[in-house]
């Protein structure tokens, strides 16, 4: 029988602290530390959202306790006279409708355009054109919103007045087109990423089954990329709802429930931007403007939630 070597640490040596062989202590500790840092990064996103919501809401909250303030009026009245001496009214319905109208129009233009462009860039165009288009589209995303506003105010305004005969060229149509142009680059680049993430094996399988390029796109690629595409659209919507400067300049800034796309409107964001500087801190007007911030928050939250539910619905199918 061969001799069995003695167990290490079984004899006169004190048993060492067990640890993974070959891994120094600093590596173990460093890994822990990194894990915690990453965890903190993840949680911080939630903390920031909650924090922003808290501070905005805290500024707005006292108005809710004010006897003269009515939440129903705030939400459903179209009368916005925040600086009136005799008849102060804080009704935001016209502003909400203005925001939604401009956003809806912008999305009606931007979503088909953006998705179409993304499909073209990702599936149909040659490599050289693809690079050029991507650079140009990214450049489009980098244009500051005040420049877009300027274009709305100077270029689009005259174009709209000439072609439609509208009395005022700064209106829902103008704001919608400007917002669409601003959202398209975002929608295109995110959708393009989503389409690029579809494995090539899907494409090859579809093609081998005799699918034409179009059949491949709408039967394979769009279903496979739908989550990413929805995220792209949502980011576009978020951009459109949250945009301030461009809509301030391009929509006419008139409190008005629009009856056609040629009516000027005012949006929630533009109202905050235009009036916050003039409202005395701590006044009711000041607090109502923060409440509008809460309202904006709620609108985007509801849209995101709805989209999430839609996606889940699709997935369960």
């Amino acid at each position: 029988m061969t001799e069995i070597p003695p167990m290490p640490a079984a004899g006169n040596v004190a048993a060492p602290v067990p640890r993974a062989p070959g891994r120094p202590r600093w590596a173990v500790v460093g890994e822990r530390l990194l894990e915690w840092i990453i965890r903190l990064c993840g949680i911080s996103a939630i903390l920031f959202v909650l924090g922003i919501f808290y501070f905005v809401f805290a500024k707005a909250a006292p108005i809710l306790l004010d006897k003269e303030f009515s939440l129903t009026e705030f939400l459903f009245s179209t009368k916005w006279y925040p600086t009136s001496e005799i008849n102060v009214r804080y009704g935001t319905l016209a502003l909400t409708v203005g925001t939604l109208a401009v956003t809806l129009l912008a999305m009606l233009i931007a979503v088909p355009f953006g998705l179409g462009a993304a499909i073209f860039v990702s599936e149909f165009c040659g490599p050289r054109l693809k690079e050029t288009l991507k650079i140009v589209i990214e450049l489009l995303a980098a244009i500051p919103s005040v420049v877009w506003g300027f274009i709305g105010l100077s270029v689009m305004k005259t174009v709209i007045e000439k072609t439609t005969g509208a009395p005022v060229g700064v209106n829902v149509l103008n704001g919608g087109i400007i917002l669409a142009l601003m959202s398209v680059p975002i929608i295109v680049s995110i959708s393009e990423d989503a389409l690029k993430a579809v494995p090539d094996s899907y494409r090859e399988a579809g093609i081998a089954l005799g699918a034409t390029r179009w059949q491949l796109v709408y039967k394979v690629l769009l279903p496979a990329a739908k989550t990413g595409l929805l995220a792209a659209v949502l980011l576009g919507v978020g951009r459109a709802i949250g945009e301030t400067m461009a809509v301030l300049m391009a929509t006419g800034h008139a409190v008005n429930v629009p009856t056609s796309v040629l009516d000027p409107v005012r949006t929630l964001t533009a109202t905050i931007a235009a009036e916050l500087g003039e409202a005395p801190e701590g006044s009711n007007h000041y607090r109502v403007l923060f409440l509008i911030g809460v309202l904006l928050f709620t609108i985007t939250f509801v849209i995101n939630l709805a989209a999430d539910l839609v996606i889940r619905g699709i997935r369960r199918k």
Binding site: P127, P199, S201, Y202, R203, E204, A205, G206, I207, A208, L209, G210, A211, T212, Q215, K219, V220, P223, A224
Partner: protein
Amino acid sequence: MVSPKPTIQVQDLRLAYGTKEVIHGISFDIRRHEIFGIIGPAQSGKTSLLRCLNRTIDFTPGVRLEGAIRVDGEDVRQIRDVFGLRRKIGMVAPLPVGLPLSIYDNVAFAPRCAGVKARSELDGLVEHCLRQAALWDEVKDRLHTLGTKLSGGQQQRLTIARALSHQPEILCLDEFSIAIDPVTTMRIEGVLKELQSSMTIILVTNLVQQARRLARRTMFLWNGRIVQLDASDVIFSEDPGNRQTYEYVHGIFG
């Protein structure tokens, strides 16, 4: 016996990715309704050859193709209706690619692309193809769940059912049994033997024994050249007449 007319004629085919030539001028015929085995180690050009056949090679940038491949007498490179060509050829990839659709839609994909719309016709076709691929009994109660949720072996049989769904004249199987257990493999091999009466089958395989079991003729491809092409009886015999073939088939090299 009159030897059947060749379905596929390959003449002096050369294929290069960029400057790297992977197929160095090979010529062979595949006859109608035979099972044609292609064996050979990795990197010998087997998959590239199949991709030339249905012209999915077009999607790889920088490919240069010389020589001719004729399917039913028509040069595939001059063919107008490339979608028609692809419907004529069923292709099964080594690793199953379940499209992100339901089982039913996966199988109904090709017929729908070809314009079949009637529900009853599709239903019949889907059942027929799934039965042919020995998958029907396992999935008949959940045809509308996602195809990608099936196990690897089931997914592979799904891709076989899918490849059969456009009633191809030629069925190409590219190492189909890599992800399947031996029992299922045997079942599919049985299916292939039955299909032989209605279509030409090209069987690319790493399993030498599989080619021996199924193929009437076998081609040994190595580094883009044909080492030997002969009846399987000869290739797998004790004396194939070529030392490399003998050593590869008997596991001495490779």
